[in-house]
Amino acid sequence: MNKTYYLLAAYAVTWIIHIAYLGTIVRRYQRLQGEIKDLKKPGPRS
């Protein structure tokens, strides 16, 4: 296998890992926004 493929693979994997992690942060943030919206809704009071 051409050695350049290893270089491309290493750089690609690095960015895939970072982008995947950033994706988890965005997803957690969106879920939290949903929870905040639910908390702001007036709930039933006795």
């Binding site: 296998m1 050695k3 350049t4 290893y6 270089l7 693979a9 290493a10 750089y11 994997v13 690095t14 890992i17 970072h18 992690y21 950033l22 942060i25 957690r28 943030y29 939290l32 929870e35 905040i36 908390l39 709930g43 039933p44 009071r45 006795s46």
Partner: protein, 230 residues
């Protein structure tokens, strides 16, 4: 502070693109390894960034153990999480570099094995934080973080103490490097450090918000025990 984030984000993106250009185009080609040696410009800065984040985790953990400061606990958690991401990059780019140069993906020598052990310690730290609901979890995790931080200098200097396949360290070791390569390496390290700082910042904000929401849920369940609380 909120306005500074997008500006810093754009500046970091420009710096990362510039660092990539430096690594792929400007840096001289190494004589024996050829272009595959350019993995060095991602592998080494990722390792240094991971080590710095683990030291931040250590400092914040010690501060938490002394002062029980919740902000220090969040800093410890965030730095460990981002540090694990960078350490994962090191553990994956290393074998990709080793295969064409050494002819093997992995060898159980001291540098590689100790890096894997370090990664496992911080992964177990994150599992502890994620799955333990005890009130003492932050303190237990902080104690584990202190143990993990002790391994960082061992990983770095393991090349001095043991005969390994891995080359000597670039900084403070017996290795030498072309000044143009060192320049590109430092630019890449700066770029990855800025990127790590921004990721830690956004993760810190997310964790703070998560704790506020959890607190609000707890209060809601106290005020309205029959209400739907997750």
């Amino acid at each position: 502070m909120k306005k500074a984030f997008p500006i810093l984000g754009v500046l970091t993106a420009i710096l990362l693109i510039y660092a990539l250009y430096q690594a792929l185009v400007v840096a001289p080609t190494e004589k024996t390894m050829g272009d595959v040696q350019r993995i060095f410009y991602y592998h080494v800065p990722s390792a240094w960034t991971a080590f710095i984040l683990f030291f931040i985790n250590f400092g914040a953990s010690v501060l938490y153990l002394i002062k029980r400061n919740p902000a220090a606990d969040i800093v410890a958690l965030v730095s460990a999480e981002v540090g694990v991401v960078f350490c994962t990059v090191v553990l994956i780019t290393g074998p990709i570099w080793a295969r064409p140069v050494w002819g093997i993906w992995w060898t159980w020598d001291m540098r590689l094995t100790s890096t894997l052990v370090l990664w496992l310690i911080y992964v177990s730290y994150l599992f502890l934080r994620r799955f333990s609901s005890s009130g003492e979890t932050p303190a237990l995790a902080a104690a584990l973080a202190v143990l993990g931080a002790l391994c960082v200098p061992f990983v770095y200097f393991s090349i001095w103490f043991f005969r390994t396949q891995h080359p000597q360290p670039v900084m403070g070791g017996g290795g030498s490097i072309d000044p143009r390569m060192l320049h590109v390496l430092l630019i890449n390290w700066l770029a990855f450090s800025c990127f790590a700082f921004l990721v830690c910042w956004s993760r810190y904000r997310l964790e703070s918000l998560q704790r506020e929401v959890d607190h609000a849920h707890a209060l809601q369940s106290l005020l309205d025990p029959r209400g739907s609380v997750r």
